[in-house]
């Protein structure tokens, strides 16, 4: 095959069986790869209502047909499984070097099933695959694990690992690769922990074959020029990283502050991309083949030591900062480093601590439960709870369940800022209606990267963020295109400068398949609908396409979006209609037929 490597590696940790399967060409064409193809396999193979921590759950590391090529920012893979946080499908995305290494080793994806009796790691050297003991790494952080495993295998190996949070089944544990990159959301690291799988080490020395090399090279050069000349991808992200958004979003009055009680944060400047660049930035870092290089290599002075790492990104700065009322950027950076070390999602962590802070302010939580006073703005409290959560120690054991279970436990479920039990990211949807509908309909729960309407509503200011009109259509287009981008293995950030017609020639030249604009977007739509079918089968429905009551009932108190709530009901009705779904949010037979899902 061209583009695709043509082989799926399957490892059963219960039996120790290691098999290599031929990739079905029709499936590859219809579901592309990465997020799409792995979701299809999960849908076909996972028995309905399987507990996410049951050995029967699958954990899939899946790259796309462009991953590892020179296509701009085609560094990505997805970690796909049933989420222990949401009970819905999880597809968590990460870049770096590791995803491409899976392909150089000869595979499009690695499917892990079953559960090992003892801690193990996988060692994949091209076609040689071994299950090895990870007893020496169990309990270690992701950096140390990375180093220990490269010592045992090959210094050139690229490593996927979990930290203590994944081992302890923290419901929002992530999977770390290349020491600093994270498939952070939806608890994919906890599923890895439940399988006693500490790490996957990969070294590949093979190449990716391209059907039409000259056409592919031309397409890469064209896209490279577009990325370099785009204002966001050529200027904003390289100069300030994703944190450029702190001031932008705050100026629109939608930087959620103190658990979404406010949309403006007085400490925004102190945690902005500009401040990060001035005070902490060492250099920019790019994932494989990425001309944007939004990664931030940063250094802090922490208790007399200089600590160097990567990040924090905009979302982490917000969750560990504004969401908790914290404006100490060095502390936020330290907590972000710890999240990488523990393998834990900083968005859900920060949002869960913010929820606890509001419960504390309401008097629902007291020092008796928390073991410490917990006020908005308490950075030391956040730091302490980060460690305790990863270790499931004391009150951290409650936080490790996420904000929905926390708020539910204390009788105030409305104070969890989440949909489908996954916490929202850093945009108050009361001032950007489309993203509100996006949070509600996201197949993996509260999330910004399933349908980033913020690009059109705020960054490009192409549409009025305050109106709900036309947002269902906008969101559907973004959701479907995002499915394509995630499935080919490119980074979503390229979409600030590239459209479907820029991805199309790359994919066709690489694979030799004759996709058209329409058939490619239809593949995106097919993937979205398949994820929906997965969730429906798991028992989710219209009542789960909702938002926290605060966003629907409490108008934003101040700022440019003052007085607004999310007009969800009308947008959701329109969304279902445009999607070809019935009133309960189920795809109609006609729609399924049209997508080849019937």
């Amino acid at each position: 095959m061209y583009g695709w490597m043509g082989t799926i590696l399957r490892v059963n940790l219960s039996t120790g069986a290691i098999t290599k399967e031929k990739l079905d060409e029709n499936l590859a064409r219809d579901y592309i790869g990465a997020r799409g193809l792995a979701s299809k396999i999960l849908y076909d193979e996972l028995p309905p209502r399987t507990d996410p921590f049951d050995p029967a759950n699958l954990l899939i590391f899946a790259a796309g047909p462009l991953t590892g090529t020179a296509a701009t920012s085609a560094s990505r893979y997805n970690v796909v499984t049933k989420s222990p946080l949401t009970g819905a499908i999880a597809a968590s995305n990460s870049g770096g070097y590791l995803p491409a290494e899976i392909r150089y080793a000869g595979y499009d994806m690695i499917i892990v099933e079953g559960r090992s009796e003892e801690p193990v790691y996988l060692w994949i050297k091209d076609d040689q695959v071994e299950i090895r003991s990870a007893k020496a790494m169990w309990g270690k952080g992701t950096r140390e694990t990375d180093a220990l495993i490269r010592d045992e295998t090959d210094d050139e190996a690229k490593i996927i690992s979990i930290g203590i949070a994944g081992e302890k089944l923290v419901r929002f544990a992530g999977v770390i690769n290349d020491r600093e990159r994270a498939a952070g959301r939806s608890g994919v690291g906890a599923v890895m922990g439940s399988k006693n799988l500490k790490a996957v080490a990969v070294r590949g020395t093979g190449g990716i074959k391209i059907k039409d090399g000259a056409a592919f090279r031309e397409a890469v050069l064209r896209n490279l020029a577009k990325i370099k000349s785009g204002p966001v991808t050529g200027e904003g992200l390289p100069t300030y990283g994703t944190a450029i958004l702190v001031n932008v979003i705050n100026s629109h009055g939608i930087l959620p502050t103190n658990n979404f009680q406010l949309g403006e944060f007085a400490g925004a400047e102190a945690i902005s991309g500009e401040t990060l660049t001035r005070d902490l930035l060492v250099r920019n870092r790019g994932c494989l083949a990425c001309p944007i290089g939004c990664g931030r290599v940063t250094e802090i002075n922490w208790e007399g030591n200089r600590e160097r790492g990567e990040g924090p990104e905009y979302e982490s700065i917000w969750a560990l900062g504004a969401a908790c009322g914290i404006s100490d950027l060095e502390l936020i950076t330290k907590v972000n480093f710890l999240c990488n070390e523990y393998g834990m999602d900083p968005i859900t962590l920060g949002a869960t601590v913010a929820c606890a802070m509001e419960l504390f302010a309401e008097g629902v939580l007291t020092v008796e439960e928390t073991g410490m006073p917990l006020h908005f703005g308490d950075g030391q409290g956040l730091l302490e709870l980060t460690r305790k959560t990863a270790m499931r120690e004391g009150f951290g054991d409650v936080l490790a369940e996420g904000s929905a279970r926390l708020a539910e436990k204390y009788g105030r479920p409305e104070l969890s800022m989440s949909s489908k039990k996954q916490e929202y990211p850093a945009y108050d949807p009361r001032g950007s209606q489309g993203i509100g509908l996006g949070y509600a309909t996201s197949n993996r729960g509260g999330c910004h990267v399933r349908g980033y309407t913020i690009g059109a509503e705020i960054v490009a200011a192409a549409v009025d963020p305050l109106t709900s009109e036309g947002k269902a259509k906008l969101l559907i287009d973004v959701q479907d295109f995002t499915c394509v981008v995630d499935s080919v293995g490119m980074c979503l950030f390229t979409t600030f400068s590239l459209g479907v017609d820029d991805v199309l020639p790359l994919l066709n030249a690489a694979t030799g398949v004759d996709y058209t604009t329409e058939s490619l977007l239809q593949a995106g739509e097919r993937i979205w609908n398949l994820e929906r079918l997965f969730n429906l089968r798991e028992g989710l429905g219209r009542e789960d396409d909702s938002l926290a009551p605060r966003l629907l009932q409490e108008p934003l108190p101040a700022g440019p979006a003052k007085g607004n709530v999310v007009e969800l009901e009308s947008m959701l009705n329109e969304y279902y209609q445009l999607r070809g779904w019935d009133n309960e949010g189920r795809p109609t037979g006609e729609k399924l037929q049209a997508l080849g899902l019937g």
Partner: protein, 160 residues
């Protein structure tokens, strides 16, 4: 005037696009293990240095080659290995002080950068200009100017 491939590690973001496009040009597959250029990633400092053949004025690889397989391209000044004459002894690889001649298991016994005949693919794709292919005097002048600017600001701070 001949040109020189110059690197600026300060501008390198570690994206390794140079390795990808190099391997594609030379092997028609995307495969960094077959690239003639290599970005070294320093894990703890999180720093990046692209490394490739510097086309030495007095190449020790050429000196040790027992079959005279290594010579210089008249047009580009690149140091080239003739596959017809090469017997695969790998002495050149052993003596290169920079580790920039590789034996990577491909059909050629050893490979090195040949400057793509004067149009280095890595330079064309490098998104940050960490790699450039310039006349030597232009490179040194550009650096002089950059450093001169720093000198000026320092010297002007002091009142004489």
């Amino acid at each position: 005037m001949s040109r020189t491939l110059v690197i600026d590690p300060k501008l390198c973001t570690g994206c390794r696009l140079c390795e990808l496009v190099c391997s594609f040009k030379k092997t028609e597959t995307y495969n960094p293990a077959r690239a003639r250029i290599r970005t070294i990633v320093m894990e703890d400092e999180i720093a990046f240095v692209p490394m490739t053949c510097w086309q030495c004025e007095e190449p020790v690889c050429q000196e040790v080659c027992p079959t005279g397989a290594i010579g210089r391209d008249a047009a580009t000044d690149a140091v080239l290995i003739s596959l017809e004459r090469c017997i695969g002894c790998k002495m050149c690889m052993m003596v290169c002080p920079f580790g920039n001649i590789q034996s990577n298991g491909a059909k050629e016994p050893v490979v090195k950068c040949d400057l793509c005949g004067g149009e280095p693919e890595c330079v064309l794709f490098c998104p940050t200009k960490a790699l450039q292919y310039l006349p030597a005097d232009k490179f040194t002048l550009a650096r002089k100017k950059r450093i001169a600017e720093k000198f000026r600001s320092i010297l002007e701070e002091v009142e004489w």
